[in-house]
C-alpha cells in the first residue's frame, strides 16, 4: 500500500474514532416547555442530557437553561413530566430558543371545575397567541413595537359579565435579531382595569400586580387565580405600566454622524459615530389577531386609542377567564 493511501486511511480512522467526542460550540441550550394543547408553560419538567448525565428542571414559566459546554454532537435532551409523553430533542436539532411542545398523556387528569350546583364552568383564553407562530409574523412584517409608552392597555371583550380572571399571558420579544444588549430582567406593573363607560377608555383599576421577570422566558404566564378577581363589565383592559429604571435597561445601536469640521468650501464634514439608544423592558412580542384590536396609550394626561386592523401585529397579550 502506498504511504499516501495508508496515511489517508489512518486519518479517516482517526476522524471516525474521535467523531463521537466532537463537541458543539453552543454554550447554552435555552427555551421553554409548553403544553401542546393549551400552549401554556409547564413547570418542573425534568431535562436530562443523556451522555453528559446532567439534569435540570424548568421553572414556573417552563423556562430552561442548560449549560452546553462540551456536549457531544450525538447527545440528546430528554424532557419528562408526569402527565406528559416524554419528548426527545437530539442536540444536533437544537435551534435557538425552541418551544418544546409536550403532548399530554391520556391518563392525565384535566382540570375540571365543578360548582356546588354541579354546573360546568368554561375556561377560555381570549386573544390567544401561539408562540410558535409569532416569530414568523415578526420576521415577515418586521414587527410593530407596541411599547415604550409609559402605559399601554389592551381592550378585551368578555362573552358574559361576572367572569373570573385566572391568568394573563404575555409574549416577550426575542430581541436576538436586533443589535441590542441582553437583559433578561424586567420589572413592571400589570393593571387590570375596568372600562370607563362614558369614554370607552381604561377606567378604574381593579387589580395591580408588580411583576419581576428574572429569566429569559419568552412566554410569560402571570397567575391571578388566587386574586379572585371577578370582572364586573363585559369589557376590561390589561395595562402594562413600564418603569423607566436602570433594572429594565437595554441598549441598542444606531449609526449616526458627528461634526468633524468644515472643508475649504465651508461645507460641514461628518464622521460616523454610534448613537446608543436606551430602551426599557419589557418588550412585548408583536402578534396579529384575526380580529381588530384596540390598544390604548396614556399620553399627556389622557388615554388615546389606536385600533389595529385584523391580521396586523399588535402585542402578544392574552387573558384566561372562567365563566
Amino acid at each position: 500500500m502506498k504511504p499516501i493511501i495508508r496515511h489517508a486511511i489512518l486519518c479517516a480512522v482517526f476522524i471516525i474514532c474521535i467523531l463521537p467526542s466532537i463537541t458543539l460550540a453552543q454554550t447554552v441550550y435555552e427555551g421553554q416547555v409548553i403544553d401542546k394543547t393549551t400552549e401554556l408553560p409547564i413547570p418542573a419538567v425534568t431535562l436530562t442530557l443523556i451522555k453528559k448525565h446532567f439534569n435540570t428542571l424548568t421553572n414556573d414559566q417552563g423556562y430552561f437553561k442548560l449549560p452546553a459546554n462540551n456536549t457531544a454532537v450525538n447527545d440528546t435532551i430528554i424532557f419528562t413530566s408526569i402527565g406528559y409523553q416524554t419528548y426527545q430533542l437530539p442536540v444536533r436539532d437544537y435551534k435557538p430558543y425552541p418551544y418544546i411542545k409536550m403532548q399530554p398523556t391520556l391518563t392525565r387528569l384535566n382540570q375540571v371545575n365543578i360548582t356546588a350546583r354541579a354546573r360546568k364552568q368554561k375556561q377560555v383564553t381570549l386573544d390567544k397567541f401561539l408562540v410558535s407562530n409569532s416569530n414568523f409574523y415578526k420576521k415577515t412584517l418586521m414587527g410593530v413595537m407596541v411599547g415604550n409608552d409609559k402605559w399601554t392597555a389592551k381592550l378585551f371583550t368578555l362573552p358574559t359579565i361576572n367572569t373570573k380572571l385566572l391568568s394573563v399571558q404575555l409574549g416577550r420579544d426575542d430581541l436576538s435579531d436586533y443589535f441590542i444588549t441582553t437583559n433578561k430582567f424586567a420589572r413592571f406593573n400589570l393593571h387590570i382595569m375596568d372600562i370607563d363607560s362614558a369614554k370607552g377608555s381604561p377606567g378604574r383599576i381593579l387589580l395591580t400586580k408588580e411583576i419581576n421577570l428574572q429569566d429569559n422566558s419568552h412566554m410569560v404566564l402571570i397567575d391571578l387565580s388566587k386574586d379572585n378577581l371577578t370582572l364586573p363589565s363585559s369589557k376590561f383592559f390589561i395595562a402594562i405600566e413600564r418603569l423607566f429604571i436602570p433594572y429594565n435597561e437595554v441598549i441598542s445601536i444606531a449609526p449616526d454622524y458627528k461634526a468633524a469640521g468644515t472643508n475649504k468650501k465651508g461645507e460641514q464634514i461628518l464622521d460616523d459615530t454610534p448613537c446608543y439608544l436606551i430602551e426599557y423592558q419589557p418588550f412585548l412580542q408583536p402578534y396579529p389577531q384575526p380580529h381588530a384590536v384596540s390598544i390604548w396609550f396614556y399620553k399627556n394626561g389622557s388615554w388615546v386609542s389606536h385600533t389595529f386592523a385584523a391580521h396586523v401585529n399588535t402585542m402578544a397579550l392574552s387573558a384566561t377567564i372562567l365563566y
Binding site: 454554550t27 415604550n148 409608552d149 409609559k150 435579531d177 436586533y178 443589535f179 444588549t181 441582553t182 437583559n183 433578561k184 430582567f185 423607566f244 436602570p246 433594572y247 435597561e249 437595554v250 441598549i251 445601536i253 444606531a254 449609526p255 449616526d256 458627528k258 461634526a259 468633524a260 469640521g261 460616523d272 459615530t273 454610534p274 448613537c275 446608543y276 439608544l277 436606551i278 430602551e279 426599557y280 399620553k299 399627556n300
Partner: protein
C-alpha cells in the same frame, strides 16, 4: 482641529452667560519643562468636562469675567488646580506642577495568584457611562474597589467588559445591506486610561495613584479588554485597592446617547467606552465615581443589583 471644535461646541452649550463670540485659548504645560500636558478640564457646576489632546490646548468661548463657575485642571502625576473661571481672564497658560511620585513598585517574584471579582462575561447586560437618569453621564472616572486578604501583593492582570456590538465582524438587519457598513466597522473603536489607586485611609475612598505610568488602553471592536500589567510592577500595599477607568473625553471617543422615553426627546454626547456592570450582586457597593468637583462618591445607579463593575483582577502573592 477636531478637539478645538469639540471643546468650543461643548462649552458654548453649557456656559449660558457667554454672550460674545470671543474665544479664549489656553495652554496647559508642565511647569518645569513647558511641554504640553494632556489634561482633564472640568467645569464644576456645569458638570462639563473634556480631555485635551496632546497639544494641551483648550478653548472657552465668551466673556470670562462674567462667568461664575469654577474650573479644575487634572492630570495624572500632577497636582490638581482649581480656580474660578473668571481668574482665567488674565491667563493664557496654566502651569501644572508635577507630583513627587513615591514609588511603591516592586520587582519581587510572586509564586501564586488569585482572581478577584470573577463573573461570566456573557452575563454582563448593564453598562455605565452613557447616561444618568434622563441626563448625560458627567463622571470623570469610575473605580472598582477590590479586596484581598494579604498585604504587599502585585497587580498582574485585568479583564474589563465594555459595551460593543462588535460591528467589526457582525452585522444584522438594520445595518445589513447598508452601503456605509464599512464605515460603521470603526465606530466602536475607543481608548481610555487606566488608573490604579491605593485607599485613602482617612476617607476610605480612592487615594494616591499606585502607578505613575500613564496606561492607555486602546480597543478596536472587542467588548473585552485583557490587560497584562506585570511589566508595570504595581505593588498593592494594603488589603484593598481601586481600578479606575478614566474617560478620555475627546472627539475620538465622543458619541451620542439617546433615551427612548415618551414625552422626552433626550439625546446628548457621551464618551466611549461604557463599562459593564458585574452580573453578580455583592453584599456591598464597590463602585466609586469621580465627579466634576473631583469628589469620589459611591456610584449607586445600578444598586442594589449592580454592586460591582465588570472588572476582574488577578493579584500575585507569596
Amino acid at each position: 482641529m477636531k478637539s478645538l471644535l469639540t471643546l468650543v461646541c461643548c462649552l458654548i452649550a453649557l456656559i449660558t452667560n457667554a454672550q460674545t463670540e470671543k474665544l479664549n485659548k489656553f495652554h496647559l504645560v508642565d511647569k518645569v519643562t513647558n511641554k504640553p500636558v494632556i489634561t482633564s478640564v472640568a467645569i464644576v457646576k456645569a458638570k462639563l468636562s473634556i480631555t485635551t489632546e496632546k497639544d494641551g490646548v483648550f478653548i472657552i468661548p465668551g466673556d470670562l469675567k462674567k462667568m461664575t463657575d469654577s474650573i479644575i485642571f487634572s492630570a495624572q502625576n500632577y497636582f490638581d488646580i482649581k480656580m474660578p473661571l473668571k481668574a482665567l481672564s488674565t491667563l493664557d497658560t496654566i502651569r501644572l506642577t508635577r507630583l513627587a511620585f513615591k514609588t511603591t513598585n516592586t520587582e519581587s517574584k510572586f509564586t501564586r495568584d488569585t482572581l478577584l471579582n470573577n463573573f461570566n462575561g456573557e452575563d454582563v447586560g448593564y453598562f455605565a457611562g452613557l447616561h444618568e437618569d434622563t441626563a448625560s453621564f458627567n463622571y470623570l472616572q469610575l473605580a472598582q474597589q477590590f479586596y484581598i486578604d494579604k498585604i504587599n501583593t502585585k497587580l498582574n492582570t485585568l479583564q474589563i467588559e465594555r459595551l460593543s456590538f462588535n460591528l467589526d465582524d457582525k452585522y444584522g438587519w438594520g445595518i445589513y445591506n447598508n452601503p456605509r457598513l464599512e464605515h460603521y466597522r470603526q465606530i466602536e473603536f475607543t481608548a481610555f486610561k487606566l488608573r490604579i489607586y491605593d485607599i485613602n485611609d482617612a476617607t476610605g475612598k480612592p487615594g494616591k495613584d499606585l502607578c505613575d505610568s500613564i496606561i492607555v488602553i486602546k480597543l478596536r471592536s472587542s467588548e473585552r479588554a485583557r490587560i497584562n500589567l506585570k511589566d508595570y510592577n504595581i505593588n498593592i500595599p494594603h488589603k484593598t485597592f481601586f481600578v479606575a477607568i478614566e474617560w478620555m473625553r475627546d472627539y475620538y471617543n465622543a458619541h451620542y446617547t439617546g433615551i427612548v422615553i415618551p414625552n422626552l426627546k433626550s439625546r446628548f454626547i457621551s464618551y466611549k467606552p461604557a463599562i459593564g456592570i458585574s452580573p453578580i450582586t455583592g453584599k456591598k457597593l464597590n463602585i466609586w465615581a469621580l465627579n466634576t468637583n473631583h469628589d469620589w462618591l459611591p456610584y449607586a445607579t445600578f444598586s442594589p443589583f449592580g454592586t460591582d463593575l465588570a472588572i476582574k483582577a488577578t493579584v500575585g502573592y507569596n
